[in-house]
Point group: C2
Chain length 362, copies 2
């Protein structure tokens, strides 16, 4: 605790120094914000999306609007970020809203829910399916304003020490998985565990846990899971197209000039499309190297997928029965998802299928 206090103070000092550089141009009012990321610097693609955002805001305002980006834990631990933004301790966060689903499950709908929309559908719902407006109805109750801020695409389904051939093999499996995915895995008979990223490898190595999910090839490779848990399952059905959020204190958002609001909105969209593009560019090489390094790619067995789908629908019905805001937004989200899949199965899916089948083998 003392150490964190020290780090916090030191970080504030750094921020103050960095902000001392004056904006030299004509332009809008001087604004200095702090952004707490929900992620460490080691997740450079995710963390980097906040840096891209901040750099664009600064450049577009001739340096007048500065947003200092701090990794998780430097000024605030990740679990406190949403609340700290809401109460104004920090002006904004770049995080996954579903991290805060324990406070209200409606938060999860801002990022992803099991068997939800893929990445493109997630954008379609947010930008043109009423998603941003609906989520902001909820965020307003938390004194927040939110914008989509970067997608990973369908994540991988995690690393297992032993092969999972059917639902029976999941019974009692201790798996590092949080959020709604953990809740679903629990209903399937697994035992979800909450472990910070840096502790996963030794826990898998020692057998303290049997499995762990992280992100996808690019991020997973850095942690070396293939060396201790070689079965690499897909898809991460609880994260088919998770999108991060820029969460902004609602009062601070309302205080911005219309020009600054326009800059923030465009910069967030740029970070959103850019992060997905960066993951797609980085993942193929990492996947090849992981497979060369012993990872064994396995699809989840069909009975696991079906049981998880059924359990997810049960959970949504249960939450909807007791949470009107969740029910309202889930209704929009799930109908939109079904329509997206109707449309995707025609031209997109047929095109992708042909291209995948005809990929030159190497």
């Amino acid at each position: 605790m003392e150490r964190r206090k020290f780090l916090t103070t030191a970080a504030l000092g750094t921020a103050a120094t960095a902000l001392a550089a004056p904006a030299i141009a004509q332009g809008g009012p001087q604004v200095a914000w702090r952004l707490t990321s929900g992620f460490p610097r080691t997740l450079d693609t995710i963390f980097g999306a906040a840096e891209v955002f901040s750099a664009t805001v600064a450049a577009a305002t001739d340096g007048a609007f500065q947003i200092q980006v701090f990794p998780a834990g430097e000024i605030l631990p990740m679990p406190e970020a949403a609340e700290a933004v809401g109460n104004g301790t920090v002006e904004m966060a770049h995080t996954a809203s579903y991290y805060y689903w324990g406070k209200d499950p409606t938060y999860a709908l801002g990022t992803a829910i099991p068997f939800g929309l893929n990445a493109r559908g997630t954008n379609a719902w947010h930008y043109h399916g009423g998603g941003i407006e609906l989520m902001n109805e909820f965020y307003a109750t938390q004194n927040l304003y939110g914008l989509p801020g970067g997608n990973t695409g369908a994540q991988m389904g995690g690393w297992f020490r032993k092969e999972i051939s059917s639902l029976a093999d999941l019974q009692g499996v201790k798996m590092r998985i949080g959020g709604m995915g953990g809740k679903i895995m629990e209903r399937l008979g697994a035992v979800p565990q909450q472990i910070p990223g840096g502790d996963i490898y030794p826990a898998l190595e020692r057998g303290t846990i049997d499995a762990a999910e992280w992100v996808g090839p690019y991020d997973d490779q850095k942690l070396g899971f293939n060396q201790v848990a070689p079965y690499y399952y897909y898809p991460g059905f609880w994260e088919g197209g998770p999108v991060l959020s820029f969460l902004i204190n609602l009062d601070k958002w309302n205080e911005l000039t219309p020009a600054y609001q326009a800059v923030v909105t465009a910069a967030a969209a740029q970070a959103n499309v850019g992060m997905m593009a960066k993951y797609d560019a980085l993942n193929p090489t990492a996947l090849r190297e992981l497979v060369a390094g012993g990872a064994q790619l396995k699809p989840y067995p069909q009975d696991v997928m079906e049981a998880a789908f059924a359990a997810s629908n049960e959970v949504y019905a249960e939450i909807s029965a007791e949470n009107a805001m969740f029910a309202k937004i889930y209704d929009s989200y799930s109908k939109f998802r079904n329509d997206q899949n109707l449309w995707f199965q025609v031209s997109e899916y047929t095109f992708d299928t042909f291209m995948i089948r005809n990929r030159p083998r190497d």
Copy 2:
């Protein structure tokens, strides 16, 4: 011709009036640009992406940077847009770069080529696969600077008066299709036709042509093709993920302040992700209505797909042999595509497959 001259003058008058409103805030230098769209207003999703872009640039600069958006033909016909931007007749265009492939086939790589990248892969290549940099090496030879500016997703494969059961049925079919897609169709035995959008319906109705491709359900529905050519084929393999371009006169781009360049770059990215999202939100309902209105959805026969794929690869080899710039960029593009399909086939494709199969039927 006289009519176009009149319209041109009138349009300039309107632009001048609109620009007379002063920027009231402090801020950057006053800049007034004209943007010629490659599309009519009736393609509201595509045309609208330029309006979204222009509105963001104006809002983010407190009205100091105004970009007037004109539909195709109002100040310039679409085929002249790229050249007119390059020589400074107009500051910028929002168009499909592949429209100008007759001038140099390298233009096609900025939008889409047959059996190219899907929409997400297109973004990945442009933003993080070197695509923007490579295309701008080429665009610089045309005195242009380009940025991605909106995707349609995999387009549909067009409307046919008669069913196509195999490659043999394509022989002699007069099909309205332009660009590289037309070149491929020609190698397959069809007879490509160039017809403006508004003339397609009567040509199909009278049987002057046998088939026509346009965009996808949302745009196709407005033209009513299902009433005269009920066989609706997919996928549009020549446009698996076509992205529009904002093409800017290179000198004008270089004259912009760094802040304005940052605003334009972010606004273009916002328009890019927003247009794809809007199409995805609009297409499902249009698809349902088209099917209810008699459209018969049909996948292209496998032998058509395979012959088209082989013909495309032949065409790329031929062009590459005589055009070094095309060869260089195609090499990057096609390797990137193969890697994307390696990665997509794992988690994304498995997730999409499950979701499509488990979509509630309605």
